[in-house]
Symmetry: C2
Subunit: 349 residues, 2 copies
DNA sequence: CTGAAAGCGCTTACAG
DNA sequence: CTGAAAGCGCTTACAG
């Protein structure tokens, strides 16, 4: 009665193995293995017999054993800085769907945007034998990181943020998105435009800042009205007054992302300003709430789900052809115009 | 030059193994294995030597191989209906943090709230040899599902929704949450209260409906003013008028979740009603946006991150003691009063 | 198209 | 505290 003193053991002990299936179907183990892997080498009749046996015995493929021999785990690691942020959740959703469709599975980890945690997590991924990883690099990732990846010979694609040109990257054209926002505001007559930012500093941060500056400068507008608001959602509304502390009073603000945008809409309202009338505002990301807020939010859409899909495809391609040169898939953004921007009268000029 | 025609192979080929480490450190493989698993049987000096060897050789533990022998994968499956919903993303975040702290890793899957996909995904989880799974069951999960789990002898905990009393469950007391909402509104003098719902039908849905009805009935109030709004966020504002189509005109609405709440705030605004003044509204979940919307949203908080933590702890406990009787951890909700409710004047009674 | 043998990298008793 | 041997459940050449 070994099942009595090792209660959890009976599952494992009684596991039906490929050999059981083979014997039941009266073939060799190798043949059974071939039908599992859908090899064309096996005759239809034999295949049917083996499949019946698998069903009758309730066979479950043991990927762990297969992996040991075949050196392929059908597993990809995904590491993001923060699961709680809906933006990353959407990225993850896109990744998961294409990885799943490829018959693989995602192992998830959270770096907390901390390099030490990221190191731990990367080690864990290697221990689990992932075939590759999709990584949104922690903001402070060191310059030696790409070298280590290289050494490990671990297929890796960067998502949303990039730290090396020698590895695949899936992201969006943040700078062009900023141009679209500035362009729209400028066309409505705005000349003094603020940029509200927060969060950690990384490539996507720089690209937005650069994009903003460049777009402003190319129109002869002052590019330095950049204000930092708190990271915590709940504290953003209270920081709206920061927009007006300098000598140049903006008539519009572009937001680093929609959580800032939503927060500032509330904060500006608290200050007695009417967004979409006496003040204009553009968000970034175009989250679902943009449609549901009053006034409806004009926002630059980045579609994180499709970035996730792109990242996963990039990785799949690399797995099937490791010699591919590094590729970048950088999506275009799209300005979704709703109600949060108004034109400034000629008087203002 | 085998690395020339099998370019991806050199990683695997050159893998440093436990035997390499053992030889380098001049001990047997078994001893090396013991130091990895932190066994107290190994002397300090030997341990140090082995650890040095691991470092020098860049050894990476092969969990896949260990699992095959030890029948433990240090892996837990998590299956949710939808990653895109921030609510599930937060649940996942809570799960990930405690699973990670336990030195294990989560394998993620998305059921799309579809039973066929759920079946697929559960099979995949078994193939990957997860030690257990945390499942938010798809709405239409059949009554035979628990039996199959039982047969598979797969440790499983239900999260947010439950389909069987014989398995662990981590959730929140939805019915009590509805009581808190109704109580608050009733204390402000509201007598005709609507309940706006949407989405799939499952235990958490029923509990909220029952909770609402019971709370209304116990106060002698009409419990049947339940209106179904669209599932798509963007379409919810347009459905606000549904609240007033019956003969009984509500002065307040309780929302199934905060995405409905946010949508109806917008929709009521479009109808010229002032939420928090001429109409009252309570949300459910207390998402971050509740604080950032005007008027600030009064909402029943459900704290999905901590539900995820509870679910993960339940699973960890079960893994270490499979004979534990099934347990339920049902969190209390908390009414977070902000600005979206007003009292109705005596005149209304 | 099928079979017998070896091996993937660990852990597990079992001796010493 | 350490070593030699067997085995976890597959896949991979290699013969036939």
């Amino acid at each position: 009665m070994p099942s009595e003193d090792r209660p959890s053991g009976d599952r494992k002990k009684s596991r039906v193995t490929l050999l059981d299936v083979a014997q039941h179907a009266d073939v060799s183990r190798a043949t059974a293995s071939l039908v599992i892997r859908k090899s064309p080498l096996v005759g239809a009749e034999t295949r049917a017999r083996v499949e019946a046996a698998m069903r009758e015995l309730g066979y479950v493929y043991n990927l762990g054993a297969a992996r040991l021999r075949a050196e392929r785990s059908h597993t990809v690691g995904v590491v993001v800085p923060n699961l709680t942020n809906p933006f990353f959740a959407e990225l993850l959703s896109g990744i998961e769907s294409v990885i799943d469709a490829a018959g693989m599975v995602v192992i998830l980890a959270n770096s907390g945007d901390l390099v030490e945690r990221q190191d731990m997590v990367m080690r864990r991924m290697r221990e689990h034998g992932v075939d590759g990883v999709i990584l949104c690099p922690a903001a402070a990732t060191g310059t030696d990181f790409p070298d280590r990846i290289e050494e490990w010979n671990l297929p890796l694609v960067q998502a949303l943020r990039h730290i090396s040109d020698d590895m695949d990257y899936a992201g969006v054209d943040y700078a062009a998105g900023m141009h679209q926002a500035v362009e729209h505001l400028a066309s409505l007559g705005h000349r003094i435009i603020a940029f509200a930012v927060h969060g950690p500093i990384h490539s996507a941060y720089h690209e937005r800042i650069e994009g903003f500056r460049e777009a402003m400068q190319s129109r002869g507008l002052e590019p330095d009205l950049i204000v930092r608001v708190p990271d915590q959602t709940a504290q953003i509304p209270g920081s709206a007054s920061l927009l007006f502390q300098g000598t140049a009073k903006p008539t519009a603000v572009i937001c680093f992302n929609d959580v800032i945008a939503l927060g500032l809409v509330a904060g500006l309202h608290d200050l007695g300003l009417k967004v979409g009338e006496s003040f204009s505002l553009i968000g970034f990301d175009d989250v679902a709430e943009a449609e549901v807020v009053r006034p409806r939010l004009t926002s630059v859409s980045t579609a994180p789900v499709s970035i996730g899909e792109n990242a996963a495809k990039l990785l799949l391609d690399r797995l099937s052809d490791p010699l591919l040169p590094p590729r970048k898939v950088v999506k275009a953004t799209q300005l979704h115009i709703r109600q949060s921007c108004a034109s400034v009268g000629e008087a203002v000029l």
